[in-house]
């Protein structure tokens, strides 16, 4: 497994400039679809975490592009690209993307020396 040094990890976990924030959709029945803007990998992780309340839907091509061009995480972008090519339902792809993001963020946080936060 490729090792990540602390400087790179902190760089990848940084908040990107506002103009590069990723827009995603959140579906809440019956309230509707509302957008959220994502500024960092950590934020992406907890935002797309599956819950009983919200179905997060995003375009994976936008996500891949954001990872590559705004965040600069080519490793995770390649993983998303591979998931996109799988012939499985959207939610399965979404779960796989979440798992990949969660694993990546955990690894980056460990390398960066950041603390974990509470989950309900």
């Amino acid at each position: 497994m490729q090792t990540i040094d602390q400087t790179e990890a902190r760089h990848l976990l940084r908040e990107v400039p506002y103009a590069e924030w990723l827009q995603i959709g959140r579906m809440m029945i019956p309230k509707g679809i509302h957008q959220a803007r994502i500024s960092s990998l950590s934020e992406l992780e907890w935002t797309i975490r599956p819950t009983a309340k919200t179905l997060v839907l995003m375009r994976f091509d936008n996500l891949e592009q954001w990872l590559r061009e705004a965040v600069g995480d080519h490793t995770l972008a390649e993983t998303v690209l591979a998931i996109r090519s799988r012939d499985v339902p959207y939610v399965e792809q979404s779960q796989a993307v979440y798992d990949a993001v969660a694993e990546r963020v955990a690894a980056l946080k460990e390398a960066a020396g950041e603390e974990e936060v509470r989950h309900a």
Binding site: V88, Y90, V91
Partner: protein
């Protein structure tokens, strides 16, 4: 052996109704009693309120509801306080509002809880509020006794403290709350809690986002009626009643309710989580994930679902629905993904919103816009738009409360935002943000509900042909159900072919067939979609806003709980009209109810005409016509039934990535107005239409103002 005495049921002269309407004349702090009988034909709620407005508003040309001559009506329906499923607890507010563009139209809002039921138990079907009190007042209504109280001590207080103060004030004998004295002989005390509708600081300061709030989490938000009450110096109206409601055919009501439960009810032992339909579904309306599943259902009077919740952790003091979500993502970001902190802050901010009496919906898109201006260096200390709000702290409890406070109290940027986000954009020289959809407020200066009119056209069409975000979910499951199913890789529970036929049957005779639900880009301006839209408006105007069936349960146009997936709407055994007839003793058909909805809509069109509306006002924000649906950038798909022009086959198709066509929509409006009996050139009602609807007096008044439409 005791002899069996035959019980004779006497439904009274006006079953379902309390029989009288309270007219509060604020200017001289007097009141009068209006017999309900004259207004019975309007049903209740929206229809009743509109007819009363027409008779009691002396100047219908007002363009701002904050005026002494404006009349606000809070109305129940025959169903309120009864056991009609999911219809006993809604309450309708009507009058000229505040804050829409270009004009604050005659409009409506609605809230749940127990207010309308208590109003009727006290003996009143509605309360008409006219004039302006010389000083802040609140009104106590206990059965037939009406008392004005000075509200100086309540002015400035939040909605919770206001209600607590009124509970205490009604405890005249100091026996402690819960043992309220009732006037008159017979029953002298009651353990019931008065039902109070009140405003908070947002209403007192006449902000566009000022709501009317009842108990906790019941709010009439759209329309700015809080501002209307604030202008009128009316802090609260409290009802306490010991009466009951006579039902024309009690067994008919019970039979229909039980049959509905048998066919459509949820099996709580094994709930069908993939159920399609409105009546038989289960959901909760707390939108932020809470760190507890220990929930007790909370419901409006008569509801069979209980979408609201009491959680053991108590976050948010029982607030529910949209206000429990709009700040969630910001709170999560500030808490760095700590879900417990996110939930706590989101609910606390929601509660504060409720306490200030603010409508939280505009903040959903509005805060996103403000945050963008701050990041771009336009908004902030020493910037082009000055503010002391610290956007570095966005997502914190302190920031959330500070933002709400400045709007409710008209401070800082709240001085502008209190008049509306779109109005603020114009004032700040940022009209382009509204035109290009940076600010997602597509109709009448009101925020998008979450369903973009470019994809979900029926929602947009009905909103722009009325007066506000329609917020009526009749057809909306046609998006949710297939979209979620397809996302999960499941076969849609009901095929596109089947569902359009099921619904089209419900919409007859308005529509000819299933093409009314073909949302292909080449069909959305068709006569059939037009007829579906007319049904939608008429249904919501009568069955939903006047009879007061709950929007989250009705209409039930298809339902997988029932044989053949047939929904309950219009059903001869348990449809809307069955309950109406059982309660009122009338004998109307389901379609008769739709005709009443048409009559209400035409009367409202007359009021809009007097206010200065012209058909040219009925247009969306520019981005709806000029930009393809931006949701396509962050949202992957939006499925809706579409018919393939070549093969004739139906499928759920993605209807994102399009914009509306301005010219085609204008031409659609020509046909719409004509079908409604309105003048296509102006949108005003014609003499012929008004006469056919028995509204000759309305025709006279329009004629006197030069606002009578010409026959096509």
């Amino acid at each position: 052996m005791a002899s069996k005495k035959k019980v004779i049921h006497d439904p009274g002269a006006l079953p379902g109704y309390a029989g009288k309407i309270l007219h509060l004349k604020l200017s001289d702090l007097s009141y009068e009693v209006i017999p309900t009988e004259k207004y019975r034909k309007w049903g209740g709620g929206n229809g009743l309120g509109t007819a009363l407005f027409w008779d009691y508003c002396e100047d219908k040309t007002l363009q701002d509801g904050r005026h002494e001559k404006n009349v606000c009506v809070v109305a129940s329906s025959p169903f309120c306080g009864t056991s009609v499923p999911s219809a006993g607890g809604r309450c309708e507010v009507t009058g000229i509002g505040y804050g829409q563009i270009p004009v604050s139209w005659y409009t409506r809002s609605n809230f749940g809880g127990r207010y309308s039921a208590m109003m009727k138990y006290a003996g009143w079907d509605a309360v008409v509020i006219s004039g302006k009190a010389p000083e802040p007042v609140w009104v106590e209504v206990t059965n037939a006794t009406v008392t004005y109280h000075k509200a100086k001590a309540l002015w400035g207080k939040g909605t919770r403290e206001t209600q607590l103060a009124i509970f205490s004030a009604l405890d005249r004998e100091n026996k402690g709350w819960g043992w309220e004295p009732l006037p008159g002989k017979g029953v002298e005390y009651s353990t019931q809690k008065p039902a109070i509708l009140c405003i908070g600081p947002a209403g007192e300061n006449q902000t566009q986002l000022g709501s009317l709030v009842h108990d906790s989490g019941n709010g009439a938000g759209q329309g700015g009626f809080g501002a209307v009450w604030g202008f009128k110096n009316l802090k609260a109206v409290s009802f306490m009643g010991s009466g009951s409601i006579k039902i024309a055919d009690p067994m008919g009501l019970v039979d229909a309710r039980f049959l509905q439960k048998e066919i459509y009810g949820v099996n709580m032992e094994e709930p069908d989580i993939h159920q399609w339909g409105m009546l038989g579904r289960v959901f909760t309306s707390t939108f932020v994930g809470l760190p507890s599943n220990n929930r007790r259902a909370q419901a409006c009077v008569g509801c069979v679902m209980g979408c609201r919740s009491r959680y053991d952790i108590g976050y948010g003091n029982e607030v529910s629905c949209q206000e429990t979500s709009w700040y969630g993502h910001y709170a999560g970001k500030y808490a760095k993904g700590d879900e417990i902190e996110m939930a706590k802050v989101t609910m606390q901010v929601a509660d504060y919103c409720n306490d200030l009496g603010l409508n939280s919906y505009p903040f959903e898109h509005g805060l996103d816009w403000l945050e963008g201006l701050w990041h771009k260096g336009i908004l902030g200390p020493g910037k082009q738009i000055e503010t002391k709000l610290n956007f570095n702290e966005i997502g914190s409890l302190e920031f959330g409360k500070a933002l709400l406070k400045v709007v409710a109290h008209r401070e800082d940027i709240g001085k502008d935002l209190a008049d509306g986000f779109v109005q603020t954009a114009h004032k700040w020289g940022r009209k382009q943000d509204h035109d290009d959809g940076t600010l997602l407020f597509p109709y009448w200066g009101m925020p998008e509900h979450g369903y973009d009119p470019r994809a979900e056209v029926e929602w947009g069409f009905a909103s722009i042909m009325t007066d506000r975000d329609i917020n009526s979910h009749e057809f909306n499951p046609l998006f949710w159900k297939p979209t979620v199913a397809i996302a999960f890789g499941m076969r849609p529970r009901i095929s596109a072919e089947e569902i359009v036929h099921l619904i089209a049957e419900k919409l007859k005779p308005y529509v000819k067939g299933p093409e009314c639900l073909d949302f292909s880009t080449n069909n959305i301006y068709s006569d059939e979609v037009l007829n579906m839209t007319r049904w939608y408006i008429h249904y919501s105007r009568f069955w939903k806003n006047s009879a007061l069936f709950c929007d989250l349960r009705w209409a039930d146009l298809f339902d997988t709980n029932a044989p053949g997936n047939v929904g309950a709407t219009g059903d001869s055994r348990l449809g809307e009209q069955v309950f109406w007839n059982a309660v009122t003793g009338e004998n109307i058909s389901f379609v008769d109810g739709l005709s009443k909805g048409h009559r209400i809509y035409v009367l409202q069109s007359a009021i809009w005409a007097l206010q200065g509306r012209h058909r040219d006002h009925a247009k969306f924000a520019d981005y709806i016509y000029e930009k393809k649906n931006e949701e396509g950038e962050f949202f992957p798909f939006y499925f809706w039934p579409c018919k393939n022009e070549k093969t004739g086959k139906w499928a759920y198709e993605d209807v994102l990535h399009r914009h509306l066509d301005r010219e085609k929509f204008e031409e659609w409006k020509d046909r719409f107005y004509k079908a409604e009996g309105l003048d296509p050139k102006t949108g005003w009602p014609t003499q012929k239409t008004l006469e056919e609807l028995g509204l000759e007096d309305v025709a006279k008044e329009l004629d006197a103002h030069g606002k009578l439409g010409k026959e096509a």
